[in-house]
């Protein structure tokens, strides 16, 4: 179990975190969600004993990160946003080194490395030099080093950063595979990724927990209404849009690029104030149209923006308005020199 009480971290005069209090139970997969600079990485670094908090207490499995950091380190596996890999070592050499650093008994090292390689599906590159691996495999090696000593807690900072769509799906499966044996904390600003993987979300804003709960709870509280995408065949764009707009509860209907190729295929994005899925289907079928697909879009991003109260967004937008078109001024411009 992780207990964080009144945690503060200052960098000079700037408050990065605080006050932050939260408890994380055994076996949970927690998603730490927040905008860039919200304090996610600082929180995770404190949990991994890479940073010391300014004040407050952080206990991991009953051990305090300041009073007994080595006990915490032995229980935590940490993947920073940039995997800490030695490019001159092979995958197995590196994992053996990481296991020995984490006090794995000499007799168990080979077995632990083999287990980590199997779980992270690194078998085909196990003898390869890390410097020659692709980004996706490097992320996997990063996760493998975080779990090679079978820690109770696994802390993953932006594990899907820079991965392609296939690698993202693989990484999601990998994180899910950690469920049960480990308590996992994953940070990301890609909201849908966390909703796919995590049991509970912690939304962090300006160093504080702005909200905590399951995706369903988040949806219930902030996600009134529904976002749908419907694809039909056999009608004109105008006809489909008119039919959908006529359904009670539909607030907005917007034609969009068809979700699949073919003649007479129309896709409409629908915003509604209530669950209108059955009503929309019924209307379309009554008009003798073929409903090919109806997908409920998770408007998690929108919900989190609502949750954050829009203050941070407005602050950022305000900052952008002050900047000239095409981004912030260049050094030459800001120095008053002709460009």
């Amino acid at each position: 179990m992780i207990e964080i009480q009144e945690l503060y971290k200052y960098y000079g005069d700037r408050r990065a975190i605080g006050p932050l209090s939260v408890e994380i139970g055994k076996g949970e997969i927690i998603g730490l969600l927040g905008l860039n600079g919200a304090g996610k990485t600082t929180t995770l670094r404190i949990l991994a004993c890479d940073l010391v908090p300014t004040s407050g207490t952080v206990k991991v499995g009953g051990s305090d990160v300041v009073a007994d950091p080595d006990a915490v380190r032995a229980r935590v596996g940490y993947l920073p946003d940039r995997p800490p890999l030695y490019d001159d070592m092979s995958v197995t050499e590196y994992l053996s080194f990481a296991a020995k650093l984490r006090r794995v008994a000499k007799a168990d090292v080979a077995k632990r490395v083999a287990d980590a390689v199997e779980l992270t599906e690194l078998g085909e590159v196990r003898s390869q030099i890390i410097g020659t691996l692709s980004h996706g495999f490097r992320q996997r090696v990063g996760i493998a080093q975080a779990i090679v000593h079978r820690p109770e807690f696994v802390v993953l900072d932006e594990p899907i950063s820079g991965l392609d769509p296939v690698q993202i799906v693989e990484m999601r499966e990998l994180v899910r595979a950690l469920r049960g044996d480990h308590t996992v904390i994953v940070s990301s600003h890609i909201l849908t990724e966390l909703s796919e993987t995590c049991d509970r979300l912690l939304v962090i804003e300006q160093g504080r927990i702005a909200w905590s709960g399951t995706e369903q709870e988040l949806f219930t509280k902030f996600g009134r209404g529904m976002q749908l995408t419907v694809t039909v065949r056999g009608g004109s764009e105008q006809q489909v849009a008119a039919l959908v707009k006529a359904v009670k509860g539909v607030v907005d209907a917007e034609l969009t690029t068809p979700s699949e190729p073919g003649d007479g295929i129309v896709t409409v994005r629908i915003g509604s104030s209530q669950d209108v899925r059955d009503a929309v289907c019924r209307e379309l079928v009554k008009a003798d149209l073929q409903v090919l697909e109806l997908v409920r879009r998770h408007g998690l991003e929108d919900m989190v923006l609502k949750l954050l109260g829009g203050e941070e967004i407005e602050r950022r937008r305000g900052r952008r308005k002050l900047e000239p078109e095409g981004g912030p001024p260049s050094k030459h411009e800001s120095a008053g020199e002709p460009s």
């Binding site: 991994a48 004993c49 890479d50 940073l51 010391v52 080595d70 920073p80 890999l85 984490r102 080093q145």
Partner: protein
Amino acid sequence: MSRVLLIARRELFAYLRSPLGTVILAAALLVDGIYFYALGLSEKLVSADVLREFFYGASGSTMIASLFLSMRLFAEERQTGTLVLLNTSPIKDWEIVAGKFLSAFAVIGALTLLTAYMPALIFVNGKVSIGHILVGYAGLLLLASAAIAIGIFGSALARSQVVAIIISAVILVSFLALWKVARAADPPLNRFLSALALHHDNFRPFMLGRLEFGRVAYYVAMTYFFLLASTKVLEARRWR
């Protein structure tokens, strides 16, 4: 201790796999060889003087090699982000520092061993005592350990290896130049500064084959001080 050796093995491995270790060893050996060859050809020096001058020349190349070997030890880890692995493992900061020191010292030990043929040549063709050779080498290793510790300290302070070696070189040269400053100072400050100088008064006895406890203690203390300072730098970074 096992984790100190684990870190030391990892760093030795890095020296062997990268061209850095080989290039530094080769360059130092080349400089030592040329210097010794020039001395050996000189007819004005007797065997003991050749040996003394050899240790004098070797001390310079050893100090420079020590700085170049140690500049990467922390700066590179910080640059590539691998220091996080060490920082978040259940290992003490002093164990990390000691492991890295041991690896660089082992490479310098190899360098020293590879120069052994030069005094051996004097031994074969001239008349020098084995004790003189052994004491001279002990001095070289002690001087190297102090230079490595200074290099590690510079590396712990910097993110870039270039900055690291500049910091280390400034510290090293400052300690080398203290004997010169001592000449301009009044007693008792001059004796204090002279005793602190990295080379002059402290290394000369080793060059002459005299083993003095005070000089040994000086180099051990210098090594300890800079390794301790490096450990404190690592600790302080967690609190920033």
